[in-house]
Symmetry: C2
Subunit: 115 residues, 2 copies
Protein backbone atom coordinates (compact mmCIF):
# COMPACT_ATOMS: atom_id res chain seq x y z
CA UNK A 1 0.00 0.00 0.00
CA UNK A 2 1.47 3.38 -0.96
CA UNK A 3 2.53 5.52 1.97
CA UNK A 4 4.77 8.42 2.92
CA UNK A 5 8.01 8.28 4.90
CA UNK A 6 8.69 11.66 6.43
CA UNK A 7 11.84 13.10 7.92
CA UNK A 8 11.74 16.47 9.68
CA UNK A 9 14.91 18.47 9.02
CA UNK A 10 15.50 20.85 11.90
CA UNK A 11 18.93 22.23 11.07
CA UNK A 12 22.35 21.17 9.79
CA UNK A 13 22.85 17.54 10.90
CA UNK A 14 19.68 17.79 13.00
CA UNK A 15 16.75 15.67 11.96
CA UNK A 16 14.14 13.24 13.21
CA UNK A 17 12.53 10.58 11.08
CA UNK A 18 10.89 7.16 11.12
CA UNK A 19 13.88 5.31 12.63
CA UNK A 20 14.46 7.53 15.65
CA UNK A 21 10.71 7.87 16.25
CA UNK A 22 10.19 4.12 16.12
CA UNK A 23 13.04 3.71 18.61
CA UNK A 24 11.36 6.15 21.02
CA UNK A 25 8.08 4.29 20.60
CA UNK A 26 9.71 0.93 21.32
CA UNK A 27 11.47 2.33 24.41
CA UNK A 28 8.08 3.50 25.67
CA UNK A 29 6.62 0.06 24.95
CA UNK A 30 9.45 -2.12 26.28
CA UNK A 31 10.91 0.09 29.02
CA UNK A 32 14.38 -0.77 27.75
CA UNK A 33 16.86 0.76 25.32
CA UNK A 34 18.44 -2.61 24.59
CA UNK A 35 15.09 -4.32 23.96
CA UNK A 36 14.01 -1.43 21.70
CA UNK A 37 17.28 -1.52 19.75
CA UNK A 38 17.11 -5.31 19.42
CA UNK A 39 13.54 -5.10 18.09
CA UNK A 40 14.87 -2.83 15.33
CA UNK A 41 17.83 -5.08 14.59
CA UNK A 42 20.38 -2.56 15.80
CA UNK A 43 23.05 -2.72 18.48
CA UNK A 44 22.57 -1.18 21.91
CA UNK A 45 25.37 1.25 21.01
CA UNK A 46 23.60 2.35 17.82
CA UNK A 47 20.37 2.88 19.75
CA UNK A 48 22.18 4.83 22.42
CA UNK A 49 23.85 7.06 19.79
CA UNK A 50 20.48 7.85 18.19
CA UNK A 51 19.05 8.78 21.59
CA UNK A 52 22.10 10.91 22.32
CA UNK A 53 21.65 12.64 18.96
CA UNK A 54 18.01 13.41 19.79
CA UNK A 55 19.12 14.89 23.12
CA UNK A 56 21.37 17.30 21.24
CA UNK A 57 18.74 18.15 18.64
CA UNK A 58 16.05 18.89 21.24
CA UNK A 59 18.29 20.55 23.84
CA UNK A 60 17.41 18.03 26.49
CA UNK A 61 16.87 14.32 27.08
CA UNK A 62 13.97 12.47 25.46
CA UNK A 63 14.81 9.27 27.34
CA UNK A 64 15.68 8.75 30.99
CA UNK A 65 17.14 5.64 32.55
CA UNK A 66 15.97 4.26 35.84
CA UNK A 67 18.40 2.24 37.96
CA UNK A 68 17.63 -0.55 40.38
CA UNK A 69 14.22 -1.57 41.69
CA UNK A 70 12.59 -5.01 41.52
CA UNK A 71 12.87 -5.18 37.74
CA UNK A 72 16.43 -3.87 37.54
CA UNK A 73 17.25 -0.77 35.50
CA UNK A 74 15.13 0.41 32.64
CA UNK A 75 14.38 3.35 30.38
CA UNK A 76 11.38 5.51 29.74
CA UNK A 77 10.51 8.65 27.79
CA UNK A 78 10.74 12.02 29.46
CA UNK A 79 7.81 14.43 29.14
CA UNK A 80 9.65 16.02 26.20
CA UNK A 81 10.20 12.57 24.69
CA UNK A 82 6.46 11.86 24.88
CA UNK A 83 5.73 15.22 23.24
CA UNK A 84 8.22 14.64 20.42
CA UNK A 85 6.81 11.16 19.75
CA UNK A 86 3.19 12.36 19.79
CA UNK A 87 4.04 15.46 17.75
CA UNK A 88 5.80 13.50 15.04
CA UNK A 89 2.99 10.94 14.77
CA UNK A 90 0.47 13.81 14.53
CA UNK A 91 2.52 15.38 11.73
CA UNK A 92 2.64 12.06 9.88
CA UNK A 93 -1.12 11.56 10.18
CA UNK A 94 -1.84 15.10 9.01
CA UNK A 95 0.55 14.81 6.06
CA UNK A 96 -0.96 11.48 4.99
CA UNK A 97 -4.55 12.66 5.16
CA UNK A 98 -3.80 15.99 3.45
CA UNK A 99 -1.94 14.40 0.51
CA UNK A 100 -4.29 11.52 -0.25
CA UNK A 101 -5.25 13.08 -3.58
CA UNK A 102 -1.65 13.82 -4.63
CA UNK A 103 -0.56 10.30 -3.66
CA UNK A 104 -3.42 8.82 -5.67
CA UNK A 105 -2.30 10.80 -8.74
CA UNK A 106 1.26 9.45 -8.42
CA UNK A 107 -0.01 5.88 -8.01
CA UNK A 108 -2.19 6.34 -11.09
CA UNK A 109 0.98 7.06 -13.09
CA UNK A 110 2.27 3.59 -12.18
CA UNK A 111 -0.84 1.89 -13.41
CA UNK A 112 -0.67 3.83 -16.67
CA UNK A 113 1.59 1.14 -18.14
CA UNK A 114 2.04 0.54 -21.88
CA UNK A 115 0.01 -2.48 -23.03
Amino acid sequence: MPSLSIRVDLGPDASIGPGKVRLLELIAETGSISAAARAMGMSYRRGWLLIDDLKTVFNGPLVETTAGGAKGGGARLTAKGEQVLAGFRALERQAASATARELHLIVALIEDAPR
Copy 2:
Protein backbone atom coordinates in the same frame (compact mmCIF):
# COMPACT_ATOMS: atom_id res chain seq x y z
CA MET B 1 14.70 26.52 8.48
CA PRO B 2 12.72 23.42 9.48
CA SER B 3 11.35 21.44 6.55
CA LEU B 4 10.07 18.01 5.59
CA SER B 5 11.85 15.41 3.46
CA ILE B 6 9.31 13.04 1.98
CA ARG B 7 9.72 9.65 0.37
CA VAL B 8 6.77 7.96 -1.29
CA ASP B 9 6.83 4.20 -0.73
CA LEU B 10 5.02 2.50 -3.57
CA GLY B 11 5.74 -1.14 -2.86
CA PRO B 12 8.53 -3.49 -1.78
CA ASP B 13 11.79 -1.93 -2.99
CA ALA B 14 9.78 0.67 -4.93
CA SER B 15 10.04 4.25 -3.81
CA ILE B 16 10.61 7.79 -5.00
CA GLY B 17 12.08 10.52 -2.88
CA PRO B 18 14.08 13.75 -2.93
CA GLY B 19 17.18 12.27 -4.62
CA LYS B 20 15.48 10.67 -7.60
CA VAL B 21 13.15 13.64 -8.02
CA ARG B 22 16.03 16.10 -7.97
CA LEU B 23 17.80 13.98 -10.58
CA LEU B 24 14.72 14.15 -12.85
CA GLU B 25 14.53 17.89 -12.32
CA LEU B 26 18.20 18.37 -13.22
CA ILE B 27 17.85 16.22 -16.34
CA ALA B 28 14.97 18.45 -17.42
CA GLU B 29 17.11 21.53 -16.72
CA THR B 30 20.40 20.35 -18.22
CA GLY B 31 19.22 18.02 -20.98
CA SER B 32 21.87 15.53 -19.91
CA ILE B 33 22.03 12.55 -17.56
CA SER B 34 25.76 13.03 -16.99
CA ALA B 35 25.41 16.75 -16.22
CA ALA B 36 22.51 16.04 -13.85
CA ALA B 37 24.42 13.28 -12.07
CA ARG B 38 27.53 15.47 -11.83
CA ALA B 39 25.50 18.32 -10.32
CA MET B 40 24.44 15.90 -7.57
CA GLY B 41 27.97 14.61 -7.01
CA MET B 42 27.15 11.13 -8.31
CA SER B 43 28.60 9.04 -11.10
CA TYR B 44 26.88 8.70 -14.47
CA ARG B 45 26.40 5.02 -13.65
CA ARG B 46 24.67 5.83 -10.35
CA GLY B 47 22.39 8.32 -12.10
CA TRP B 48 21.60 5.80 -14.80
CA LEU B 49 20.76 3.13 -12.21
CA LEU B 50 18.35 5.49 -10.42
CA ILE B 51 16.64 6.28 -13.71
CA ASP B 52 16.45 2.57 -14.54
CA ASP B 53 14.92 1.94 -11.12
CA LEU B 54 12.27 4.61 -11.76
CA LYS B 55 11.47 2.98 -15.11
CA THR B 56 10.74 -0.28 -13.28
CA VAL B 57 8.73 1.41 -10.53
CA PHE B 58 6.53 3.34 -12.98
CA ASN B 59 6.22 0.61 -15.64
CA GLY B 60 7.75 2.80 -18.32
CA PRO B 61 10.57 5.26 -18.98
CA LEU B 62 10.61 8.65 -17.25
CA VAL B 63 13.68 9.75 -19.26
CA GLU B 64 14.40 9.38 -22.96
CA THR B 65 17.73 9.88 -24.66
CA THR B 66 18.09 11.71 -27.94
CA ALA B 67 20.97 10.76 -30.22
CA GLY B 68 22.77 13.01 -32.72
CA GLY B 69 21.65 16.47 -33.89
CA ALA B 70 23.59 19.71 -33.73
CA LYS B 71 24.12 19.49 -29.95
CA GLY B 72 25.02 15.78 -29.94
CA GLY B 73 23.00 13.35 -27.81
CA GLY B 74 21.03 14.40 -24.78
CA ALA B 75 18.28 13.39 -22.42
CA ARG B 76 14.86 14.71 -21.56
CA LEU B 77 11.86 13.69 -19.52
CA THR B 78 9.07 11.72 -21.11
CA ALA B 79 5.48 12.88 -20.59
CA LYS B 80 5.27 10.40 -17.70
CA GLY B 81 8.54 11.75 -16.30
CA GLU B 82 7.11 15.29 -16.33
CA GLN B 83 3.97 14.04 -14.57
CA VAL B 84 5.92 12.19 -11.89
CA LEU B 85 8.12 15.24 -11.23
CA ALA B 86 5.16 17.63 -11.08
CA GLY B 87 3.10 15.19 -9.02
CA PHE B 88 5.82 14.70 -6.43
CA ARG B 89 6.46 18.44 -6.10
CA ALA B 90 2.72 19.00 -5.66
CA LEU B 91 2.62 16.35 -2.93
CA GLU B 92 5.57 18.00 -1.16
CA ARG B 93 3.93 21.44 -1.30
CA GLN B 94 0.63 20.10 -0.03
CA ALA B 95 2.29 18.17 2.81
CA ALA B 96 4.33 21.21 3.86
CA SER B 97 1.39 23.60 3.90
CA ALA B 98 -0.93 21.13 5.64
CA THR B 99 1.54 20.35 8.44
CA ALA B 100 2.73 23.87 9.25
CA ARG B 101 1.05 23.74 12.66
CA GLU B 102 2.42 20.28 13.57
CA LEU B 103 5.92 21.31 12.45
CA HIS B 104 5.72 24.45 14.55
CA LEU B 105 4.80 22.38 17.62
CA ILE B 106 7.85 20.12 17.09
CA VAL B 107 10.14 23.14 16.64
CA ALA B 108 8.73 24.64 19.83
CA LEU B 109 9.95 21.55 21.70
CA ILE B 110 13.52 22.37 20.62
CA GLU B 111 13.31 25.88 21.93
CA ASP B 112 11.97 24.62 25.23
CA ALA B 113 15.52 24.16 26.52
CA PRO B 114 16.45 24.00 30.19
CA ARG B 115 17.92 27.33 31.37
